[in-house]
Amino acid sequence: MFRIVRKESLNPTVSLMEIEAPLIARKAEPGQFIIFRAKEDSERIPLTIADFDREKGTVTIIYQIVGGSTMELDTLQEGDSLHDFVGPLGCPSETEGLKKVAVVGGGVGCAIAYPIAKKLSALGCEVHSVVGFRNKELVILEDAFRAVSKEVRLMTDDGSYGTKGLVTNALEQLIQEGNQYDEVIAIGPLIMMKFVCQLTKKYNIKTIVSMNPIMIDGTGMCGGCRLTVGGETRFACVDGPDFDGHLVDFDEAMHRGTMYRDFEAHVREASCNLLKQEEQ
């Protein structure tokens, strides 16, 4: 069993859990992910590792409540345990030889972008972080990004905090200011990553994206996480989750991501009703 040693709410829909998993903590690297099942009959859900502490033997995950499974996860409290927690899966993000990198995070994707920014900074790389959120209420990890970045651009869709606009606006501005990046690392909603890639292609900057498709086992067995990269079928779980963003077929990935939308909506509603009943 995997005990929750710390649970923290980061914003109204995003929470953090630090989980006891010493073997995984020993091996985890930024960019890798875990699969959890909150309870015995839960779905298997992949989440990218947000942080890890090798000495304490803990792995941190940050999740947004989007469906039945994350809702169920959120019912667990400090001291409770997750039924299953397996990892570290996937390939670590490549950080070697990078001198100057723009890290772009969108929404809860910032949780995954942060450990990479942190590692790059520790390796002596100059990190510029561009982070975007819908509004002020949803901002997460601002201080964490500031601590590891030479430059931070915080964007909100409605201008309620930071600068009003999209992450692509801020990234383009940084590029136009004369910053020459070895690489851009973009992690967030598919639509955001797609537009970041369109922008960086124009400036011919190598761009790495982290894909988070639907999957079951996370070890290459189900093939559900397949995507088309440079015309070839690749599995996000064993070949990724990081890929060259200029080669990813984002439109196909967006279609595939909606495979179970109706089912999820139904489960979400059922879970909400159940919670309401419990509260009454």
């Binding site: 091996k27 099942r37 839960s42 299953d84 990892g87 067995m221 088309t228 079928t233 196909e252 495979m259």
Partner: protein
Amino acid sequence: MPNERNMDPKKCPMPVQEPEVRRRNFDEVALGYTYEMAVNEARRCMNCKNKPCTTACPVSIDIPAFIERVVHEDMEGAYQIISQSSSLPAVCGRVCPQERQCESKCIRGIKGESVGIGRLERFVADYHREHCTEKPQVPSPNGHKVAIIGAGPSGLTAAGDLAKAGYQVTVYEALHLAGGVLVYGIPEFRLPKIIVQKEIDNLKAIGVDIETNMVIGKVLTIDELFEMGFEAIYIGSGAGLPRFMNIPGESLKGVYSANEYLTRINLMKAYKPGSKTPIKHSKKVAVVGGGNVAMDAARSAMRMGAEEVYIVYRRGMEELPARKEEVEHAKEEGIIFKTLTNPVEVLGNEAGEVCGMRCIEMELGEPDASGRRSPVVKEGSEFTLDVDTMIMAIGTSPNPLIRKTTPGLETNKKGCIVTDGENGLTSREGVYAGGDAVTGAATVILAMGAGKAAAKAIDEYIQKKA
């Protein structure tokens, strides 16, 4: 009269759920022999001296001997004989391709039907499970530690044999549940999960430690396992990586690998009402492939409520690699066989969902390397099959996670681990491998045979070293 042989040229038929009923439920199809049926069928065995059936069994069960015990109504004695050779008799009695193994060599098969060896094996195992109250004996430990990677049929067999010899055995399983293909692949209606669970409980009872959620190659490497004090390692990690055809449209919504489709239904229980696992409730399904996995996927789709289910296979009915019984059951359940047919493209609608499949007809040409006549395209025969779901069951490749992280472990072009002959020794000292990880996708019983041979080799290796 035990000595009186039953000269009926036909096997006692297996009681089954009626096709019209079973095609919509996940309960076991074959109901098993009654006590009387089993004894009566056992009396058809001639108890040959040279035991051709045993020579055709991948784990060399002494078949005439166990059947003779059934004739004498000594069911526990029969069970003891089977379990000397097989760790999972209740499983093998259900999923072995007997018609190509033991039963193919039965002399009763020359002038009639062979003895129903598989059905008798199943009866004996089930009878034991239902009647035996004795706890299995825990062997006295010999002080040596062995690690097994993968809790599928191969790994569990090796684990059982080594534990019985006194080894402290730890099995590492990547999924949250032990059983491998027996729990994620083979459906409930062909192999009830409670039977698999019982076999696993038996292994635990004799001291086998099973660690789930452990992806070896990621959380621990082979070299780290040696550092932890394991003296030998058996890799039975299977051939889990699904193959696709690389035709246009394979990434559309509604195209599944058989692995994904069956895992959602079996391991993740999508067939149970109220399950939290999403799955497409398809109306018209095409399953591509002709093996047991294809039959399992097609029959599962029917049980999930599909109106029409097709098996699309590029060779003919005669060439279908699936067990004969599965093909017959599938036909009875209304699965439509489109043989000599190959898909060329999956068609999608604006929402990115499957809305059809372009196929081409094939004809059989000259025999190829496998000895089977190879299918060739019939020009101008393209047509569209109206389906909303396509399931790819055209085979799997070995999982790459271990070979990527184990220096010095030799693999071939296909990614299969290279072993030295039958004992399963790899290019690394103390590391043995078997099952689909070595052969590519094959059968449960062959994987078990490999696990058995490797357990013996590991025992000899450690005893020689000690």
